[in-house]
């Protein structure tokens, strides 16, 4: 079964990083991956993940981390790292709800890209992101590892 890679974002400034990641991964990943850019999907994330063996979610994260840096995150780390969401229901809430309902895919990889400060879109090492999407199983690296 193909791995589903979801790039979550919005049209606003660095929140576009999830979409830009999907664009960048199209030329870097083979047919083993389904790539989809999502505009603040909220609870729809559950439907998108349903039936998948492995899902990778990529989203811009704010915080005291390097702009453009890549981080594997645990679900519980998301509460303070997701962008504003429709009806206050963002990636963190959707993943938490999926967990409560027992609907998380067997393997879920959450990759945060440092959004930096302000609206400018930072430079990202897309090759490093592609390697992370292909090689990095959930939890194999310490959360917060900086891959930049």
């Amino acid at each position: 079964m193909k791995t589903l890679v979801l790039g979550v974002g919005s049209p606003f400034g660095a929140d576009r990083l999830g979409w830009l990641a999907i664009d960048a991964l199209r030329s870097r990943l083979d047919g083993a991956f389904d790539l989809e850019a999502c505009d603040r999907p909220g609870a729809r994330l559950l439907a998108l993940m349903r039936g998948r063996e492995r899902v990778v979610i990529i989203d811009a994260v704010m915080g005291d981390i390097g702009a453009g840096s890549l981080h594997c995150l645990r679900p519980e780390q998301l509460s303070s790292s997701t962008a504003p969401a429709v009806h206050g229901f963002g990636v963190a809430e959707a993943v938490a709800l999926a967990g409560v309902l027992g609907e998380l895919p067997p393997e879920l990889t959450l990759i945060g890209i440092g959004a930096g400060r302000g609206d400018a879109v930072p430079n990202v090492d897309w090759d490093a992101l592609a390697a992370l999407v292909q090689d990095q199983p959930t939890g194999a690296n310490p959360p917060g590892t900086d891959y930049s």
């Binding site: 505009d39 729809r44 439907a47 009806h87 206050g88 709800l97 027992g102």
Partner: protein, 429 residues
């Protein structure tokens, strides 16, 4: 006994769309000040639509809201088509009604399960509620996804769909896609019926009040895209005459305009629609609702959640009916631009969404007015908050007052982002 002075500040209202706050000043047994403060910056959509071609408008207005883009598209295309004096015909009319069914399903299922039910069942979040009510939450998410699927069928994608255009749609759905969706919709009918019964049993406050309901009314169907403006106090008005009775005005604490009907607050949305259109319900909806023992028209604002569940049932039945009769056809007609003024008013999930477009002879927007439902409900929400908090009792602890106020506001399913031209609670007493 000293007089109790409280100031409650809800700086960011949770689980609503957009940025707003509530300022509440209580002095003893009196509310000195109550402001639903909408501070999200004005978005100026009306101004930057000017000069744009009619071709750009459906995709631009869809960006006003991530929850109800179909509503903005439908009001806009109807207004522009009226200005161009064109009628896209029955196929387009049916598909637009189907498009709207999808949006009602998606928006209402989200509100009932993720926003309203946690309030009435005493959970801080839908996630906490899902631990006790997993099957109900799954059912809600499944209904929401069916709504998304309908919007995708006609719009290419469920968020900010792109299929609608002036004159019709960009394409006609494939029969095999219609058949697959129709099967899923039919299978979900028992879930929609069960949802109505579940919501009818939610422990909502029994708190009847006087308010004016406003909605569209159609000669023979439950209103979505067409109809006259009616109220429970005798209003019966064509949509082009909206400005004769409805007024918008600035208040200092809100970037969204307040609206009144003949100078008084009014309610738009699912409860107003249901109260005014009980005789337009499909027979299975009437039967199922009667079994709950809850009677409409209802003066209990908290029956809004049940009204949403009823409209989920309506939307599902309507979508099934429309898809059972589906035949592929030309997806619309080509517009012939001309100078003129047109009006569109459709029933967004949160209530009537009124548009006025003035177009030039080349089909470019000269000027436009957009009146979203949450802006229209603002004065009504403040009126409801004032009396609901008095009825609840101002001697309750601050946390209880804050929680009750937020429940009252969320009951309206406000879409603050849409309304800005809008919650944090600041309470002082």
């Amino acid at each position: 006994m000293s007089k109790r002075e409280i100031a409650i500040n809800v700086p960011v209202l949770a689980r609503v769309e957009g940025e707003g706050a509530l300022d509440l000043h209580i002095s003893g047994d009196r509310i000195d000040q109550l402001c639903l403060r909408i501070y999200e910056p004005p978005r100026l959509f009306e101004k930057f639509l000017e000069g744009r071609s009619y071709r750009d408008i459906p995709d631009m207005v869809a960006r006003i809201c991530g929850i109800c883009p179909v509503a903005y598209q439908m009001s806009a295309v109807h207004a522009i088509e009226q200005a161009f004096d064109m009628d896209p015909g029955p196929w387009v009319r049916d598909m637009r009604r189907l498009f709207y069914c999808g949006e009602w399903l998606e928006s209402h299922a989200l509100h009932v399960h993720l926003l309203a039910a946690p309030d009435f069942l005493g959970f801080a979040t839908a996630i906490a509620m899902a631990e006790k009510f997993p099957d109900e939450v799954r059912r809600g998410l499944a209904l929401q996804e069916l709504g998304n699927a309908i919007v995708r069928l006609l719009g290419g994608r469920s968020v900010h769909p792109v299929g609608a255009r002036v004159g019709g749609f960009s394409y006609a759905p494939r029969p095999e896609a219609v058949a697959a969706l129709l099967e899923k919709l039919r299978a979900a009918l028992p879930d929609a019926e069960a949802l109505v019964h579940w919501v009818a049993k939610l422990p909502v406050p029994d708190d009847p009040q006087e308010f004016t309901c406003v909605s569209l009314r159609h000669p023979d169907e439950y209103p979505m895209n067409e109809g006259r403006l009616v109220s429970n106090h005798g209003l019966d008005l064509g949509i082009r005459s909206y400005r004769e009775r409805f007024s918008e005005f600035h208040v200092p604490h809100s970037t969204a305009l307040h609206s009144t009907l003949d100078g008084k607050p009014y309610l738009v949305g699912p409860l107003a629609r249901l109260n005014l259109n009980m005789d337009r319900l499909p027979a299975p909806v009437t039967r199922n609702l009667a079994e709950t023992g809850v009677h409409f028209p209802s003066a209990n604002m908290f029956h809004s959640a049940l009204a949403r569940a009823v409209e989920i049932h309506i939307a599902l039945l309507e979508a099934i009916r429309l898809l059972e009769n589906y035949r592929p056809a030309e997806p619309g007609i080509a517009p012939t631009p001309r100078a003129g003024v047109g009006f569109g008013c459709t029933e967004a999930p949160r209530g009537i969404l009124w548009h006025r477009f003035e177009m030039d002879e080349r089909g470019r927007v000269v000027s436009t007015e957009i009146v979203p439902p949450t802006a229209q409900n603002q004065a009504r929400i403040e009126e409801d908050l004032h009396r609901s908090l008095l009825a609840f009792g101002l001697d309750h602890p601050e946390d209880a007052l804050r929680s009750h106020a937020e429940t009252v506001i969320r009951n309206y399913d406000p879409c603050i982002s849409c309304s800005t031209h809008f919650l944090r609670l600041n309470l002082e007493r």
